[in-house]
Amino acid sequence: MKPHNAEKTCWNCPAALFKGNVDFRACGQSQEEIKAKLGEEGQIMIECARRPELGYFEPTITFEQCTEWEKGEYGYQLKDMRVMILGMDGYLGWALALKLAKLGFRVSGIDNYTRRDTVMEKGAHTIVPIEKMTDRLHAAQDVLGLHINFRRMDIRERDKLGPFLEEEKPEAIVHYGEIPSAPYSMVDVDHALAVQDNNTLGTLGLLWLIKDIVPETSLIKLGTMGEYGAPLTGRPLFEGMFPSDAILKWRGKEWSLGGEITPRDPVSFYHVSKVQDTFNVYEACKYWWLRSYDIQQGVIYGVHTDETAADPRLRTRFDIDEWFGTVVNRFVAQAIMGIPLSIYGAGEQIKGFIALEDAMECMVRLIVSPPEPGQYDVVNQVSGLYKLNDAAETIASVANEKYNLDTKIQRVSNPRVETEIHPFETVSRKLPNEFKFKQRVSLEKEIDRIFKLLTQPHIKKRIAEKAHTILPKTHWTGEKKDADIIETYKPGSKTYGEYQGILDLE
């Protein structure tokens, strides 16, 4: 079977020089004469930044045919492809930097250490210890022989980021440089403003820099499944846009909704920032022929990638506090501490999930298969759906059966404003079909890996030091108080609603 990107052509390649050779407004808005360089039979002609010896040619060379693209583990890979990671010091950013560098990509990155600062503001710390960035980079060199070019900066410092983009000329940019916490954005007005300033304005500024400096790069931008909300009608959560056979019926008339961006129903000011990003990125693609994959990622969990597990100094961070700890990661820490796993409200909320290792695999597949100029596309990056009640039961049973713990489950009053009982149908067809992603890690397997790491004595001690930061105190009302305990029970002792969500991967 051919790799997923074998048939992609120069139209997808960041080395293809379209600018000046193609008038992208040939359709529609412009009625001007075509300025594009055309061949004798009216075909578009371009140049290649990597292969100037080709002169002007028709951009129909496939990745499979091109000598600059070589076959690798994740499909054809552009030789020494330059990738810049924004937010490289974070949970995902660091893991991806190592993975890409190991695969032969030329990796650069920036971070302003917001995550370290905000976790410290909560009075917490990453319970898997991580080194300072300088030491992380040295360890990457020592242990894996990898060179990564890092600069400390904020994405909003355009006077610094611009020159760095000029210097690196990234052929793909992974944008993880956002504050990823719903509760953090709901603390008070200052936090809400900080999140939207960093996320929305940071991304908007970035788009202008890309337009001016590296318009041929692809922006792989992290969104969240939380942008969609959970519509009570049970309408499927499509991948960003409606399919063509979705129909709007009104007053006896019918219209196709095909291609229109689906409604978003964010559930915090953080989620709103991601929705705003979606529209800003989409518009930038439309106005300036930028290209982007907007990744609606499910709730992430886990500790393992081959590279981060290679040495303790290469580990990625792992947060468990109420602001930054994702639910599965938090539950495992609670189980180890003997704290009942805390479910917010009814616990019938259904969410899409993905393990760290699988998410990284998806990212590589997206990076090596860039969109075409002007193409904005959305992928739902989810490998399983779980009800919070069921996730808690699974984690409790691993804890009790395999690790001999006495884990209980506890329902607490919901600090959030969200629907607690709802239908949930998610479409996630693009990654498995177009990008040939196959899930590698089951929830049970990754939970086991988390337990193995977190039960090590020095890490257990670090959890104990910060266990008081796990339970929610940040309420959507703006109040700061402990959540009320509704009930505490043993796993397996309760009957939950029978409804299970639907994950459409076909």
Partner: protein, 134 residues
């Protein structure tokens, strides 16, 4: 899969076609264009030898876009005997596309249908009517 044509093959595939042709003008940046593929595949299977369903990328074939004054995407151009007889712009439901093809088939069955091809003015009027402006 719906066949993708180019400027080079346009004459042979569209102008000289012995059966009516429905051609979708698309571009990678057009969100509705990306979504319509399953519907077009289905139509291609349904109509097989009676009506050809084709696609052309407008960014890659600017001459066609200029010659046929394509001003919005997706644009569905319908050709009978080598002449454009109708077009729809914007996303269409399966039913709307099917209706378009059925009309073409009945047109092509008439005597001297090549003379009855619509003028550009009529096409614009039809579009305005569709949109409820007339």
């Amino acid at each position: 899969m719906v066949k993708e044509i180019t400027t080079k093959s346009f004459k042979n595939e569209v102008i000289e076609s012995s059966v009516p042709v429905l051609i979708e003008c698309w571009a990678s940046w057009c969100l509705p264009c990306k979504q319509i593929d399953p519907a077009l595949n289905l139509l291609a299977e349904t109509y097989k030898d009676r009506c050809k369903i084709l696609k052309i990328n407008i960014d890659r074939n600017p001459v066609i876009s200029r010659d046929y004054k394509v001003q919005g995407l997706p644009a569905f151009l319908l050709f009978v005997n080598g002449k454009e007889v109708d077009r729809k712009t914007g996303s269409q439901t399966d039913e709307q596309l099917q209706k378009l093809i059925e009309q073409a088939l009945s047109e092509s069955g008439k005597e001297g249908s090549s003379d009855s091809s619509k003028k550009e003015e009529d096409i614009i009027k039809d579009r305005l009517r569709d949109l409820g402006y007339m």
